[in-house]
Symmetry: D2
């Protein structure tokens, strides 16, 4: 069995669990008033080259919903891709934590918001229209839910449009490290220097274990968020065990090495299957995910070979590379795809 | 320095972190569809002698607020002690997750609900009064927020009153194990056999690390709660790391041994200071907490000696015993209290 | 000036205000415990040929949002037309009152839900998917937000699909009377006999003054709704003044006469402009609204003539007929449109 | 039958309904963009001697809950009397509209907040405590729910304490006119000049029909509130019919004459029963309500005589004077009370 179902089916990086275990010494004040959490503030501020407030949370859903609630009032509208995780997969969490805030889809390619599409959509919500929800924020998913990555110029163009209307900019960085590894830029460039106000900082999908984080770049948001987190049941009393994980995650470039590994595996597979008949990548492979349009017969064949992956539809398969997918596992998938695509097409399904 | 500030300032039991580390093998489906979480259902069902649904959550606040939201509609009233953690220390979480549900205090001794007081309070909310919130549930804290424990007969009497009005019964068991160790009864007796419908099952304060749990005894609540948990950002994608902690917590009686240790330390201290002038325990010491009425001078003296604890008011100090407080640490506190209480009273404060 | 801006810019029918004034005699219990409100229950039960619970509310937004909150949990999904008033014009009210419930658009013609489109959309939300909101209800707008009317067979087909998935059916009847007058069927046939569980019963747009209503056909919803209404600030203490209006509205067929009048005016205009070059009705005129695609030049001309209407876009104008639009006012609009459409096209805008 | 059950069982003042009927001429833009509503802004700004924003709403519950939601975040605490209507009689509306905001009772006499008690209570909520809800506002009920009136000096003292902690001040003025008539001061003095930021302006209990209002003195709150009102279903599309009522209510001193009349009736009754054995007023009669401690036998006797009133408990009766209670009706109650109190006490109850 080779598991391409998700990056959250994978193991945690051992360094992260070792740090968690090391934190189990002595006593420490609860609810984030400990030294690990204090050092985490410093560490992330270095990583992002500006003073940030970083708050560990249990899940990406919590990071997203609480971030959006922090930047949009309950009558607010948040503009995002139709395919955004916040819109499709978080069971109304944004609406719930946001007291009714509403997501509005914006068109674009490969699960990204299009710059012109955002401009057009916003034009349909002129200021002062009390009958509608009030435009409040834009949320970008980097990398996108189809494995594509916004170039910096696009983030900046989107930020500019947002700011011109007084909207805040959220980034869902469940795969922030994968996008960063792809672009080769600095964390600062991909976030606040490009206009991001608040970031859902993912770790779990990239070798983390039990926490993600919210990183706040707009200082005026930080105190209000702190109370919201407490009320949301997202402030561990033994916070040191969460902060230690996140500190280890960004220590010595671990997070980037992990992301480079899963990205490289995806790229290797994409290269290996280029030009195969009966296969089509529905989005560029820019992070650690491949979305393949192919036949059910091919999917059946892969499953019989022992590959695990998700069928998004009868003709769309998703493969996600974990940080610890090996080259031989990647090559095995390529070989299997070649074999099944070469097979004579069976009777119509 | 000897730390009596809280049981959440303490370490995790090594067995729990070892189990977490052991879970880091192979791949596993996300969001609780893994084997660790499946086995946890079986394990807790054995522990409670009935089929339960157990859902790991990040914090006790999440466990409480989501439990209450599961049993009370948003126009509901939940009856609890004035001193209950849900009422004093969770930043409106119950009201938030419950869409506006409201807590109503009920009098009683030592941060417990009194049986007669509950009856009287409920009489003030006759059925059919649409102008008020609607009585929906009772929440007991076991052990209480002053370290006292409800005997089984009281839980049953409260449950009977609640059920007669169609109310559900929640137990905030942040210190469930401490109460259990005190009463020497079975987990079943202290919960569903006494009428509890849903339980906030605490582990963090008793040697846990990063999770508590909700245990559902009323099966009709379980499916709805599952969606609420997802939406609340309380369902880890790598759930196995949480489930493994909880499984280790209840394995081989670990949880009870930990609770017995912290209870014993508290009892030892209470016995040691019995009869000391200038000291008064404001509640019986039935779990791992001591609430001492004494002078600021005594508190100052203790702090100078290196004892850490909370001043709840100028004349009320709280001492909490962790599972790993040693006998000599307990004896040191007794000795210091004896020393300071024997000191000639200083000038009036 | 002839006002085609909206049916809510119009007067109230004098009979309704007279009834309100007549209710100002003697004393009466508050919050709906009065005789006017009791009689209203009987009257609406006759009108709908079944025992209903009718609750006057201040606005259609309140009727819609509270109806949806009564049939969908806060993690629920409500399927509606993209153009539905609940989706475009009520400032997140459904999400707010529903604690985060989410609207999902379903394709269809003329701001209606398509039967096949609903089936297809629902197929994308298979049961048991906890990551998404949970399908809970379908909301139809009758007449639609483009002035079209669902035939009974379509309502029934939609209800059948909904019920097969366990979903409730809401009807936004802001223009219920207009649709009823069009179809010539009974109120029962257009509502509960076709599967509607709860109805936003509009009066304001059709000659009412200060109230609409919620009509509940599913008795199990009624008691819960009563508390929600109270909490929503929608239960007048002097309810008799609201109930008297609604009773007068349905007395002696007044509501149908008013709707027939506004429908007839719209039909007269539509007939008068049939075939005019440079004009296109974007939806069939089946109630009291006309949506005309035409040039800005034509719109400018009409405004200079003193006609008031809404420009939905540079090429789309909306005209709404009030119950008291006269035939000569209708003919004046026809004549003006003929005049402007016949004019030689001016230079490009 | 003479009805002392409530002031909301009473008629509307004819002037108010006449104004409503007069507004039924011509067409007018919806949702408050009409001339009546514009003039209402001017009129109330004159009445309050400062530029205010006045928003008609359907009920006092809506006025209170939306006012509180406008000044307190969802993690906020609002300090009020235990007996405040918002706490006892509005079915969790404040918590609901406020997304979980919580009411905290403050002791005091006659359903008022005590100045010292407020200071003491606030001291228990030191700044920066994230575990608790965050102090956000104080709510005063003027006249109080026991018919007492805050003198200006007390309002100012409370405002001063509130402002020193950065809290906003709300006044529940369901009986604002009665308190005003009692104090003989200006509306400005009893509101913004004494520190009130936002006012629930009651009309219904004092001769109004179908609306109360929110009056905003703190301009920064007004725009946000406007969207909240729309979303709350509290913005009538035919707003002119509401605005006309409120304009008539304050025209030519009508509101004060109505309040003087009901206050005078209450005062007359209080004077008439002074010193009667077996009767005790539990609060000073400073507005239009009397709360009488007496025996069940006396209450039974009054009911047999045809008096209607509420039994708050077996020994507490509430009598409310409507604006149109006549002197002879007041004297009849006095006479009946004298008769029943003189009667030989029957067997113990």
């Amino acid at each position: 069995m080779i598991d391409y179902r998700s990056d959250n089916t994978g193991r945690a990086a051992p360094e992260i669990l070792e740090a968690l275990v090391r934190a189990n010494a002595g006593t420490a004040l609860g609810y984030g008033a400990d030294e690990w959490t204090a050092r985490l503030q410093d560490r992330f501020s270095e990583v992002f080259e500006t003073r940030v407030r970083v708050s560990p949370v249990a899940t990406g859903t919590a990071a997203n919903a609480l971030s959006l609630a922090a930047i949009a009032p309950s009558c607010g509208l948040v503009f995002c891709s139709e395919a955004a995780h916040i819109n499709t997969s978080e069971a109304n969490a944004a609406g719930f934590f946001g007291g009714g805030l509403k997501l509005v889809s914006v068109a674009g390619s490969h699960a990204r918001i299009g710059v012109e599409a955002l401009r057009d959509t916003l034009a349909g919500f002129p200021p002062g229209a009390l009958h509608r929800g009030q435009p409040a924020a834009v949320s970008l998913t980097q990398a996108s839910d189809l494995g594509a990555v916004y170039p910096l110029a696009e983030i900046r163009a989107i930020a500019e449009i947002a700011k011109a209307r007084g909207l805040k900019l959220h980034m869902d960085g469940a795969r922030f490290a994968n996008a960063l590894a792809r672009l080769g830029c600095s964390p600062a460039e991909m976030s606040w220097r490009s206009g991001v106000d608040i970031l859902s900082f993912g770790a779990t999908k990239n070798g983390g274990a039990l926490c993600d984080a919210i990183v706040v770049f707009a200082p005026e948001l930080a105190d209000g968020l702190a109370v919201q987190l407490r009320r949301a049941g997202q402030v561990w009393s033994k916070m040191r065990f969460a902060s230690a994980q996140l500190a280890a995650y960004v220590a010595d470039g671990l997070w980037l090495r992990l992301a480079q590994a899963s990205n490289a595996a995806a790229t290797r597979i994409a290269a290996g299957i280029a030009g195969l008949p009966g296969l089509r990548l529905v989005a560029p492979v820019e992070a650690n995910e491949l979305f393949l349009e192919t036949s059910s017969a091919v999917m059946d064949g892969l499953e019989q070979d022992g590959f695990q992956f998700y069928r998004r539809s009868p003709t769309l398969a998703r493969f996600v590379c974990r940080f610890d997918v090996t080259e031989s596992e990647a090559d095995a998938l390529v070989a299997a795809l070649k074999r099944h695509c070469a097979a004579p097409a069976r009777a119509a399904e």
